[in-house]
């Protein structure tokens, strides 16, 4: 009786562990593959309604408004003297920030073998690529003569001119291009086995079959193919980490290398990276919550443990961000430059001072209060909300750094508030476009890297030693 009880207890414990941890709750591979395929194909009419609405928003707000702006000049936006940049650059930095989460989660956690990453690396990597697309839109939009933007590329031309490599904007362009290319490749490599899986589960004669066949590059799962793939992924995972760090550092140099009060701060590089991770983590949390609740079978793949782990990361990043914010503020304040002092005062007491306080509440206070609690941070919708607030807070941070800080310069005669014009719609358009791309991707490629999950599940098992049930992991790779 006692032993039965004990067995029951052990059994309960094991069941509990299985329920909690995806790695300990394996399903047959074929079933799991079918679940992923089904999650792509089960599309309700609601999906198409949202998809349609977003398409219209993208067509009107993004491309329509952009065309209007190209035809009429930037005057239709709110940029002015002295806020020459405005929301365009806010959005650029914001989207590049979002894009950082993908690499961070996928590459860094992969390199450090954080097991909870497995089901959602793809979702995060997609954010990188799609976020960068929006960042590209935002930065090209802000150009006065966007039709000449190819002049910024280092290509041979009849003008006999290289781009100016002294300009942080040139660095920026190269960094973002490198990041976009490498992150796209890094997205693609782990996708190959899943594409092959999808190819094998798609009926002949459909366009999807062709799509998967072409993209899967004839992957059959041979030993040699796996070895090559693993090597390539390893190289990319290691290589993309410095690229990621460099990108946002270089973005920060657009500001830090300038002579403006509030901008020429030596700590902007790490400050921007941490800020990017902050918003990126928040965005991943939001995306996971949506995927989990909206896509079929996703409750199996994405569980409380993932939100819990993510929540912990968010808390950590929030603390780091708070540290850098304080550091940046402290040094600028202590510097005593009268224009910087004026600017810091303007941040807090100016007409948009509420934004400064909201930023601190959203980025620091709320994560710190909510994410300490393990139970709370396991709740998808709480994490969604916190992630949303962090993103709003981080958008505010960029708004404060760009248009609000541009308001205050060394010529008080020219100080002027910035009121956004058409760039609001353009910003909404990029958000819609991001979601649209994501929704499209969710119908075409497996959002869950099945082979990675299966690989993890194979390595993990529950073993019962006497009274204790423990998780054992076999060495991978």
């Amino acid at each position: 009786m006692a032993s039965e009880k004990h067995n029951d207890h052990a059994h309960d414990h094991a069941a509990h562990l299985r329920e909690k941890h995806l790695m300990l709750d394996p399903l047959p591979r074929g079933q799991m593959n079918d679940m992923v395929m089904e999650s792509m194909r089960a599309t309700s009419w609601k999906f198409w309604v949202v998809f349609g609405v977003l398409s219209v928003i993208v067509a009107v707000f993004l491309f329509g408004a952009w065309g209007y702006m190209i035809a009429n000049g930037l005057g239709v936006a709110g940029v002015n003297r002295p806020s020459y940049w405005g929301i365009f650059l806010v959005n650029t930095v914001f989207w590049i920030g979002i894009s950082h989460a993908g690499t961070f989660i996928s590459a860094i956690l992969r390199v450090f073998k954080a097991e909870f990453r497995r089901p959602f690396t793809r979702a995060a990597e997609l954010m990188t690529t799609f976020g960068l697309v929006q960042a590209g839109f935002s930065i090209f939009m802000h150009m006065g003569r966007v039709w000449l933007s190819y002049w910024l590329m280092p290509i041979p031309n009849q003008r006999g001119l290289w781009p100016n490599f002294h300009s942080p904007l040139s660095w920026d362009l190269l960094a973002i291009t490198t990041y976009l290319l490498s992150s796209t490749m890094y997205l693609f490599l782990p996708l190959i086995p899943d594409l092959a899986m999808a190819r094998d589960r798609t009926p002949d004669g459909t366009w999807q079959k062709t799509f998967y066949r072409v993209l899967a590059l004839g992957f059959r799962g041979t030993e040699g193919e796996w070895t090559h793939l693993r090597n390539a992924m390893n190289i990319f995972a290691w290589a993309i980490i410095p690229v990621m760090f460099s990108v946002h550092t270089i973005v920060s140099w657009d500001f830090a290398a300038a002579t403006r009060p509030g901008w020429s701060s030596t700590i902007f590089g790490p400050y921007f990276i941490v800020g990017a991770l902050h918003s990126g983590m928040g965005a991943v949390a939001m995306v996971l919550a949506v995927i989990q609740s909206r896509m079929k079978h996703m409750k199996y793949f994405i569980r409380g443990e993932h939100f819990e782990g993510l929540g912990m990361l968010m808390l950590l990043v929030s603390m780091a961000w708070a540290y850098f914010f304080f550091n940046d503020y402290m040094v600028q304040w202590y510097g005593g430059d009268k224009w910087t002092q004026q600017l810091l005062h303007f941040h807090e007491a100016g007409p948009l001072g509420w934004m400064w306080f909201a930023m601190l509440v959203f980025n620091v206070a709320i994560p710190w209060v909510t994410l300490w609690n393990k139970k709370w941070r396991s709740n998808p919708w709480l994490l969604f909300t916190v992630g949303l607030l962090i993103n709003v807070g981080m958008w505010f941070e960029r708004y404060i750094i760009i248009p609000i800080s541009l308001t205050i310069n060394r010529m008080p005669f020219t100080w002027r508030m910035y009121t956004p014009g058409v760039e609001i719609y353009l910003g909404i358009g990029t958000v819609a476009f991001f979601i649209l791309l994501y929704m499209g991707a969710s119908r075409l490629i497996p959002l869950i890297p099945v082979w990675e999950v299966q690989e993890g599940q194979m390595a993990h098992s529950l073993k019962t030693y006497g009274r204790e049930t423990v998780v054992t992991v076999s060495e991978l790779e």
Partner: protein
């Protein structure tokens, strides 16, 4: 025949033909204009990329500054000052620079036209023959006493022609008027000089050689008399010549642009300028140990309390004035626009006498008359204009010719000029721009723009040399306009009789030459010529004719012999605020239709494209109004709405409004923009007949509306607004 026609003959014949053509066209009116050609089809005589420069005279105000206009292929590109011209020595003001936006203004009157009903703006174009017939008919068939000419302060040659014409017809002498003359208080200044020195003349204030200037309301850096010349004088005073840096003290209830350059700005109670001058005179006299009857009975304490300038300050100012090497006191502008304005002018001028400033370098002298001028003349004052309007109302004027002035806009509304027009049989406007008066006319026969015109202008102020500024077209007329002088000459010719005999000139140029003949052989000229054609050529080339020697004369008269009395200023209307109108330093009286002038910020407020009312921030606070709030200003004569500008440098009991905006016509850039303080003006005049425009009290009420003023300055950066440090 053809066989015998050698190449040599051909060349002979061709050259004779060419010479004949050259002579014929060269002497005819055709050569007087430069033809405008597209850049792609240039005539042979124009070199690609080479500019041609023409000297002419600025018509943006009546000061008569000389211009040199750069043209290329018949287009006027840039206006510069004429370096040799004694009025401006190569410099221009902001309005002069923007005169090209008048020349190429998209809203010019393009053809002679008849308006179906006055004010309807329903114009039907006419041809010039019909237009001349209308003028001829008006001249011939109207009772001469019923013909009236209302002319602007420029150009002078047209005024001379019209004067001759009026004499020949037997019509009353033409009347000249301009809002600038009204705001300058020219009549008061002339009258004061006449009263003190027994001689009507324009005073010459030798700013440049003075080391201390007390300016009583004279906005000499803005629009007053000859701003370019005065600015030069001011700069020389500051550079200091032999004296060291000169000091400027300015008395005005509001810090004007001139006051802003002062070392000391005294925000004086409006209407007490003359009293303060007396107090300064008394203290200065005492400090110099001189007794003068003029200032003997002055009660300094009483003046201190009336003017709001403390007795200590008066003492300091008096001693400062007494101790300067070359002190100069200038009366002008709003200080003279009070019921006691003439007395104020006399009191201030007397200050100069006290410190020996009459006739001394750096003091007050009398400006020379212009060449061909026999006596001092001035535009009509408001008293005379009021008489004129009465005559119109009484139906005594059958035909009114209006040129160079926009009385519907410029005259105080209370005079009722617009109403009075209804009693005039025929109104013929020669406006270049579709101004308010043209909109109330039966016919508009547009004159050329000043840069397309011949003419001359007498330099009345600002030049120590007697000067006649010459004007010539720098480009051919852009539209189907015609010189008003030519229209009158053609009309006179077609009317025949005595009229044709009195004006036997082929065209405007011949008329001008007939006047210039008097200068041929005149000595001390900038150039000389043996006969009129050569003289005219030089006159065009140099942009006028002037003496090379100074001809300033010393005022004389027993100024200090008897006590000078300055009465108390009487204020018309009720209300808690003094109204202090001033001419917009950028727009002047007629600049509102030039887009770039609209975009040039006002020097003191930096407002563009609008007008405003300046209210002290504390007063605004008491009234419960803020920047950009619209207030209703009510005087005894009228009411206007204006946008509040919280101006920190104005007396709390005074509000100030610029004149220049508030047009109801005058082209797309002017129409419906801002408000016109002339709508508030009453009819109170001073003893010289000038309008007491500063002698008014007004009420200010909040309307609840707002209108954002376009400012160049940052309200955040300059006033600390929105930074938690608001003043």
């Amino acid at each position: 025949m053809t066989d015998n026609f050698s190449r040599r003959d051909f060349l002979k014949l061709a050259s004779v033909g060419a010479a004949t053509t050259a002579i014929l066209t060269g002497c005819g009116p055709a050569s007087r204009y430069v033809t405008r050609e597209p850049y792609t089809q240039m005539p042979e005589y124009t070199y690609n990329g080479q500019s041609t420069y023409y000297a002419t005279t600025c018509r943006e105000c009546a000061a008569g500054c000389g211009l040199v206009v750069r043209t290329m292929q018949g287009r006027a590109l840039k206006v510069e000052g004429n370096k040799n011209h004694p009025a401006n020595l190569g410099k221009t003001c902001v309005r002069g620079q923007a005169t090209l936006h008048g020349l190429y203004n998209p809203d010019r009157v393009q053809d002679p036209a008849k308006q179906s009903k006055r004010g309807s703006r329903d114009f039907s174009n006419m041809d010039w023959d019909a237009a001349i017939a209308v003028v001829a008919d008006a001249l011939k068939n109207t009772d001469p006493a019923g013909v009236a000419f209302l002319m602007g302060m420029a150009p002078d040659h047209l005024f001379d022609l019209v004067s001759d014409l009026a004499k020949a017809v037997g019509a009353p002498t033409p009347i000249r008027f301009g809002a600038l003359g009204m705001f300058e208080a020219r009549a008061t200044l002339g009258k004061a000089v006449e009263n003190l020195f027994g001689q009507a003349a324009m005073p010459f204030f030798d700013l440049g050689k003075s080391d201390l200037v007390f300016s009583f309301g004279a906005n000499f850096l803005e629009t007053w008399l000859a701003p370019v010349a005065f600015t030069r004088g001011f700069a020389n005073m500051r550079r200091g010549g032999g004296h060291g840096r000169g000091t400027l003290v300015h008395f005005e209830p509001r810090m004007s642009q001139t006051a802003s350059k002062a070392d000391m700005w005294i925000p004086i109670t409006p209407g007490t300028e003359g009293l303060v001058a007396l107090a300064i005179g008394r203290i200065a006299a005492e400090a110099r140990g001189a007794t003068s009857a003029a200032f003997e009975n002055v009660d300094v304490e009483a003046i201190a309390s009336a003017s709001g300038v403390s007795a200590e300050k008066l003492d300091e100012l008096g001693k400062l004035f007494a101790s300067a090497d070359a002190a100069l006191a200038i009366p002008g502008g709003a200080a003279l626009a009070h019921s006691n304005g003439l007395e104020t002018a006399e009191a201030v001028l007397a200050l100069n006498a006290l410190v020996g400033g009459l006739g001394r370098a750096g003091g007050v002298l009398l400006a020379p008359l212009a060449p061909m001028q026999t006596e001092f003349s001035r535009p009509a004052n408001i008293a005379e204009m009021a008489d004129f309007v009465e005559k119109m109302k009484g139906g005594k004027i059958k035909t009114l010719f209006v040129h160079g002035v926009n009385p519907v806009f410029e005259l105080p509304k209370s005079l009722g000029f617009e109403d009075a027009l209804k009693s005039v049989g025929t109104v013929i406007s020669f406006a270049t721009f579709p101004d308010e008066t043209a909109m109330q006319a039966d016919y508009v026969f547009p004159d050329h723009h000043g840069l397309e015109s011949w003419g001359y202008q007498r330099v009345a102020a600002g030049s120590s040399q007697s000067a006649l500024s010459g004007a010539q077209p720098v480009v051919s007329p852009y539209y189907n306009t015609r010189a008003t002088a030519d229209v009158f000459l053609a009309a006179a010719a077609s009317a025949g009789g005595a009229l044709a005999q009195a004006l036997p000139f082929k065209d405007e140029v011949e008329f001008i030459q007939s006047k210039l003949v008097a200068l041929v052989g005149e000595g001390d000229g900038y150039f000389g010529a043996p006969e009129i054609n050569t003289f005219t050529a030089y006159f065009q080339q140099y942009g006028g004719w002037w003496k090379t020697v100074e001809e300033l004369s010393t005022p004389s008269g027993d100024v200090l012999g008897k006590a000078i009395k300055v009465g108390e200023a009487k204020f018309a209307g009720e209300g808690e605020f003094y109204l202090h109108p001033f001419v917009s330093p950028v727009l002047g009286e007629a600049g509102a239709n030039k887009p770039w002038l609209q975009e040039v910020p006002d020097p003191t407020t930096t407002v563009m494209w609008g007008s405003w009312v300046e209210i002290h921030p504390e007063t605004a606070h008491e009234l419960g109004v803020d920047n950009d709030d619209v207030v209703l200003i009510t005087s005894e004569a009228g009411a206007v709405e204006a946008v509040v500008y919280k101006y920190p440098a104005i007396r709390p009991d005074t509000i100030a409004m610029p004149f220049g905006q508030g047009h109801s016509a005058y082209g797309r850039y002017a129409e419906g923009r801002g408000s016109n303080p002339a709508d508030l003006f009453g009819e109170q005049v001073n003893d010289a007949g000038d309008l007491a425009f500063a002698g008014m009290r007004v009420k200010v009420e909040k309307t609840g509306k707002t209108y954002p003023l376009a400012r160049l300055e940052s309200r955040m950066g300059v006033y600390g607004e929105a930074l938690g440090e608001e003043h």
